[in-house]
């Protein structure tokens, strides 16, 4: 649809132009991570907001992507781009394989199973010291480079990460407005009715789960090359919860909502550095109050609030 295309183009322009006023500021660095978190949040939203499947273990795929690329490019001196593709494919295959038994579960059981996967992955990152460096982390990961051009500064990494992010966003927007996306939403609204209509719910759930894992792994690979150092603390249960919060706040079932959520929850902790210890309490309160009072997330809540405050403007969705 025309308006969707325009919206996306405007968004691209904003993203491409954003670092210019910031020059080499600290904020550019933060925006790099907004990009990575946007990809992660979007991956989770496709699974959770559209298909309605809970996953509390996204950090596992993020970590597998990061450690996969990290280990291959340090211990085995593989070309980073090749490693990225290889890792993404392997994680996708892994997700596809465990997807079938995992997604047969529903509701709480699914939540617990994905939680279990996340915890096991985290423990593995900590224990396989020879490969991953264990709790002390893995360092010396090379930056990505094309020929002699190396992505070694905030501004370069910003464009690198957001190029990937924009492609993922575009593909996601295409997908959710298509037959496949309709099928997912149907599964979410009434899996029984969807199946009766011939929608292969089982396969589609696994497909979107795999897609979500693939995006997370890509984000992980990018992360390790941007940071050049990774440790297991970045891939624990807390991260999965943060992602969940981003998606809930931004808006379940909204592509732009994921980005909004990622932006807010990456930016806010940086701006509120002084209140660092309060972040857990904050997330908890946010999750609970958003779910009770604003279940559509901010991306729907703010326009709704706007419409209520300015009734004269209504009559145009």
């Amino acid at each position: 649809m025309k308006s969707d295309k325009i919206k996306f183009l405007v968004f691209c322009l904003i993203v491409l132009a954003a670092p210019v006023p910031l020059s080499q500021g600290y904020l550019t660095n933060v925006l790099v991570f907004v990009g990575i978190n946007s990809m992660l949040a979007l991956g989770l939203n496709l699974l959770l907001g559209y298909a309605g499947q809970i996953s509390l273990g996204q950090a596992a795929f993020f970590g597998l992507g990061a450690y996969g690329s990290g280990v291959l490019t340090t211990h085995f001196a593989m070309n980073p781009w090749l490693a990225m593709v290889l890792v993404a494919l392997c994680v996708a295959l892994f997700a596809f394989a465990i997807g079938f038994p995992v997604l047969r579960l529903k509701g709480h059981y699914l939540a617990m199973a994905t939680l279990g996967v996340g915890v096991i992955a985290h423990i593995a990152f900590n224990e396989t010291v020879d490969l991953t460096g264990g709790p002390s982390g893995l360092s010396g990961i090379p930056n990505l480079s094309v020929g002699s051009f190396t992505f070694d500064s905030d501004i370069k990494n910003y464009y690198l990460v957001w190029s990937f992010a924009l492609v993922v966003i575009l593909l996601s927007l295409n997908m959710v407005n298509s037959r496949f996306g309709r099928g997912l939403r149907a599964i979410h609204d009434s899996e029984v009715a969807a199946r009766v209509m011939g929608v292969n719910a089982r396969l589609m759930k696994v497909q979107v789960f795999t897609l979500s894992a693939l995006i997370s792994a890509l984000a992980g690979s990018l992360y390790c090359h941007v940071m050049t150092f990774i440790s297991p603390t970045s891939f624990g249960f807390n991260i999965s919860i943060e992602l969940l919060t981003m998606v809930v706040i931004g808006g379940l079932g909204s592509v732009y909502g994921s980005i909004l959520g990622a932006l807010l929850l990456t930016l806010l902790p940086e701006l509120l550095r002084a209140f660092q210890d309060y972040d857990i309490v904050f997330y908890g309160l946010l999750l609970v109050s958003m779910t009770i009072y604003l279940p559509g997330g901010l991306v729907r809540g703010i326009p709704a609030l706007f419409r209520r405050v300015m009734p004269a403007r209504s009559g145009h969705a």
């Binding site: 295409n174 298509s178 037959r179 496949f180 996306g181 939403r185 609204d189 029984v192 929608v199």
Partner: protein, 250 residues
Amino acid sequence: MLKLTGIGKRFGGLTALQGISFNVGKGTITGIIGPNGAGKTTLFNIATGIYPPSEGAVLLDGVDISALPPERRARLGLVRTFQNIELFGKMTVLENVMVGLHTQSSCGLFSCSFRMPWQMSEERRIREKALQWLEFTGITELADVVAGTLSFGKGRLLEIARAMALEPKLLLMDEPAAGLNSRETAELADLIKKIRDLGVTVGLVEHDMDLVMDICDALVVLNLGTMLAEGTPREIQDNPAVVTAYLGEE
């Protein structure tokens, strides 16, 4: 079209169905009736793939579908509607019917994400067909309404439009007249006849005797999990055993 042979179903120690065998003839409207607790819903669920039978077989057009899940049955041309209507509440009316066309289209995850040109034309075709089915059931003007906000009667019509979009060989309806007033029931009767005229075989579980006697070509009567009688509405009406089952002994 649909053949049930020796269907039995046990839930733990409870035998819900035993020895059910009958044919739903191609191109007919067949009703499955019986007093409460007769096992109609259980039979219906077995026919539509919600759970498998403990014994016996279900054949669709000669193909054994007894162990097939609902989505496979849909691809073979069997679709059902629900007594309490199961709509995709957050999607629009049009989108609901477009899901009905899922089996008639093939754009998968990859093609949809990359907006292949053939996907765009397929999408247009799906949209047009969906609108045609909305017109068939007379709810075209509701196309952009969110399905969850529909009244029950309109929701029922949407469910039928969605089911028809699948272009089924056999449409099984679970108490389609439930919750409808007499005017809506009369319109439903006409709609079901229209569906039969398109060549679709219709089977319905129903309590509304007026509707059943009006439109059904054949009837199957269940009582206490077994078959009580089978025949034309006239024959069933005159069958003393059926009368007793419904009304009790004199």
